[in-house]
């Protein structure tokens, strides 16, 4: 991955020193990877360090504090559960900008920026495209546990699919972010129940995508572009481009405001992007309808209900 840059020494040529602390693997094709990719996509020169796989809050807190002590300019705490630790840590490092998400407020800390995705928007778009692809009218969703942006995405997807004419959206929460085998069997269970389009979220869906691919059933991704998992069958992925709000935060920082504001990525600000897989041939008109819907959500004429 792109996370192996050396971290010691001061930034070359005045590059901004940024650190990410993330709960799952930084190349999980999902939540954690979305942030690493986003930082790498920043326009300015960045010297990046990553500590990943730290779901345990105490470990993450140690890493966050360590990065602040090491003199990083920006420390990204990429997990809602890290918020409690920031309350303790951020005040000790008034010159460091902490970036925390997904979260919709900064807990009153003035060196913390917060960020959140409007995951339901892309879910709604994916759902409505899915509705136009299903023949049985039944669409399946494989989720981890009913929480966080997984819920937002899945609820948006369900609303979009039903609005688009699907008769039924079956949702399975496997109860685990990590159990690939259960996710795969959950997808199999859907297939046995007339499902002919699938989506899912979180890192364990890689198992479900494999099942979809073998069964020749279209798949919708979210969080990161999942086309590589099933090059013929991934229709589209809602991709998180956190760099949109990160740029804004860094601009504020340059102007002396090092925190205190909350941001959202959505279709309108380009933080959420529906990336289509060109290898998947959509029926005529579907792509146009999808673009129109994105346009509608962007300008507020379509209500996703989320």
């Amino acid at each position: 991955g792109g996370d192996d840059a050396p971290a010691s020494g001061s930034g070359e040529g005045g590059a901004l020193r940024v650190a990410i602390v993330a709960p799952s693997a930084s190349d999980d094709l999902a939540f954690s990877q979305s942030m690493v990719d986003s930082v790498n996509a920043l326009e300015r020169a960045v010297e990046l360090s990553v500590t990943d796989g730290t779901f345990i809050v105490e470990d993450a807190a140690a890493a966050i504090r360590g990065y602040a002590e090491d003199g990083n300019d920006v420390v990204i705490a990429h997990g809602t559960q890290f918020g409690g630790s920031l309350v303790e840590i951020a005040p000790d490092f008034p010159d460091v900008t902490f970036v925390w998400g997904t979260a919709s407020d900064t807990q009153g800390l003035d060196n913390v920026f917060a960020y959140a995705p409007a995951a339901g928007e892309g879910g709604y778009v994916n759902g409505s495209i899915a509705a136009s692809l299903t023949e049985s009218g039944v669409i399946g969703v494989v989720g981890p546990i009913e929480a966080g942006d997984a819920v937002a995405y899945i609820n948006g997807f369900e609303a979009g699919a039903l609005a688009g004419g699907a008769s039924e959206v079956n949702i399975t929460y496997t109860g685990s972010f990590g159990d690939v085998a259960l996710a795969a069997e959950a997808a199999e269970a859907h297939l046995a129940n007339k499902v002919d389009v699938l989506t899912g979220t979180a890192q364990m869906v890689v198992g479900a995508v494999g099942v979809a691919a073998d069964a020749g059933v279209p798949w919708f991704g979210t969080q990161a572009n999942q086309t590589s998992l099933a090059p013929d069958l991934v229709v589209a992925s809602q991709v998180y481009h956190w760099e949109v709000v990160l740029e804004e935060m860094l601009a504020l920082r340059d102007s002396g405001v090092i925190g205190g504001q909350a941001f959202e990525i959505n279709l309108a600000n380009g933080g959420l992007v529906i990336e289509f897989n060109d290898a998947f041939e959509l029926p005529a008109g579907v792509r146009d309808a999808a673009d129109a819907m994105i346009e509608g959500i962007t300008n507020g004429t379509v209500n996703t209900g989320s």
């Binding site: 996370d3 192996d4 840059a5 050396p6 971290a7 010691s8 709960p23 360090s49 990553v50 500590t51 990943d52 796989g53 730290t54 779901f55 345990i56 809050v57 105490e58 470990d59 807190a61 140690a62 890493a63 360590g66 990065y67 090491d70 809602t80 559960q81 890290f82 918020g83 409690g84 630790s85 309350v87 303790e88 840590i89 997904t102 979260a103 919709s104 959140a116 981890p144 546990i145 009913e146 929480a147 966080g148 942006d149 819920v151 937002a152 109860g175 685990s176 972010f177 990590g178 989320s306």
Partner: protein
């Protein structure tokens, strides 16, 4: 005395050999072993606050480990540490949610007691199942671990979820931030050292006293060595098997409440797995206990060693940008090497005379 030191040195030597393997792995990853070792030592002991972090990390291991010694000495294999930690954490969370306004000097002991109670129940269940229904405890504790994870997910997503999460629609499965009155008081400002650390040490000493100084412990060990002879002497095997598991679970339960109320987040949160909350302390505690020769007091330094490995690993990953998995693999190697060296240590210790605090049990390393 010299021999005692030697006995303790053997596992250390093994640890050194294990680290040599770690060095090779670091080289393979293109990192400098010296820098790696430096980062680990620095992360674990580099400053007062890091030393404190190491002690905090060791705390659940001491508690679970001390509990394990009680169970294993009664010949009950408690692999249910994870479920008992979770039960303790959940019950103490409920107490803090229900009585947030109690003053700290009441609420802190109360949540710790609630933790003990929660863990005790989750220990007593497999204990009683073994005693009264002949259900093997390895099976039941492994299964109960699975059950409690789901129960935690259920509670944190449903009845106990932070109302704000529902409002905001983010639905992160976590409780609201719990009463500050329940937060474990910090002992040294500027460090994470909280009273959970002395509580764990006191608990380990208590486990030692119970096992070797009280009639209850006498009965537990009697049952552990020979249920038949214990029974003929009028000691109830069933009751003591249940009791051992309950005691063992209660210590793990205290670890659970310390994980909640000694944390910076001051709340419970789940990622759907047990390890996400416990940090696998329920398993690592077994390792710490066996490492300490199933002696509650030896469990303390042994847990510190593992605590240091864990905190050092975080620093290792941060400084050298090597995957965290390296530390896990290293951890495994340390266990394998040190345990392979215990026959040597056992031999050394057996040649020790029966003297001193530790001698009574340390010559018996067999665990199960």
């Amino acid at each position: 005395m010299l021999k005692a030191v030697l006995g303790a040195l053997v596992p250390l030597l093994a640890a050194v050999v294990a680290f040599a393997f770690g060095a090779i792995m670091l080289l393979a990853l293109g990192a400098s072993p010296l820098e790696g070792l430096n980062a680990m030592l620095d992360g674990a002991f580099g400053s007062g606050s890091r030393l404190a972090a190491t002690a905090v990390k060791a705390t659940p291991l001491i508690l679970v480990g001390a509990g394990i010694t009680i169970a294993f000495r009664t010949s009950v294999i408690n692999i249910g540490g994870e479920s008992q930690i979770i039960a303790g954490a959940l019950l103490s969370t409920v107490v803090a949610l229900t009585l947030p306004d109690l003053p700290a000097f009441i609420l802190v002991p109360l949540v710790l007691l609630a933790g003990a109670a929660g863990g005790a129940v989750l220990g007593a269940i497999p204990g009683a199942l073994k005693a009264y229904a002949s259900v093997n405890e390895i099976l039941s504790t492994i299964m109960l671990n699975l059950v409690m994870v789901q129960f935690m997910n259920f509670l944190l997503r449903g009845p106990l979820i932070d109302p704000f999460e529902l409002e905001a629609g983010t639905r992160i499965p976590q409780t609201q931030r719990l009463s500050d009155n329940a937060a474990l008081p910090t002992l040294i400002d500027g460090t994470r050292l909280h009273i959970g650390v002395p509580v764990a040490i006191i608990a380990a000493v208590a486990a030692y006293l119970i096992l070797w100084r009280t009639p209850t412990g006498f009965r537990l060990r009697a049952v552990g060595h020979s249920p038949e002879a214990a029974r003929a002497a009028g000691i109830s095997v069933k009751r003591n098997v249940t009791l051992a598991m309950a005691l063992s679970g209660s210590l793990a339960g205290i670890a659970g409440s310390i994980l909640v109320f000694g944390s910076e987040g001051q709340r419970m949160v789940t990622d759907g797995s047990a390890a996400g909350f416990t940090g696998s302390a329920g398993f690592n505690g077994i390792v710490a206990a066996l490492f300490g020769g199933l002696h509650p007091l030896w469990t303390i330094p042994s847990a510190m060693l593992f605590g240091a490995l864990l905190t050092g690993a975080t620093q290792l990953q941060r400084v050298l940008q090597v995957p965290a998995a390296l530390a896990v693999a290293l951890n495994g190697i340390v266990v394998i090497f040190v345990i392979s060296s215990t026959p040597v240590r056992g031999w050394l210790q057996r040649s020790l005379a029966d003297s001193g605090l530790f001698s009574r049990s340390s010559n018996r390393v067999e665990a199960d």
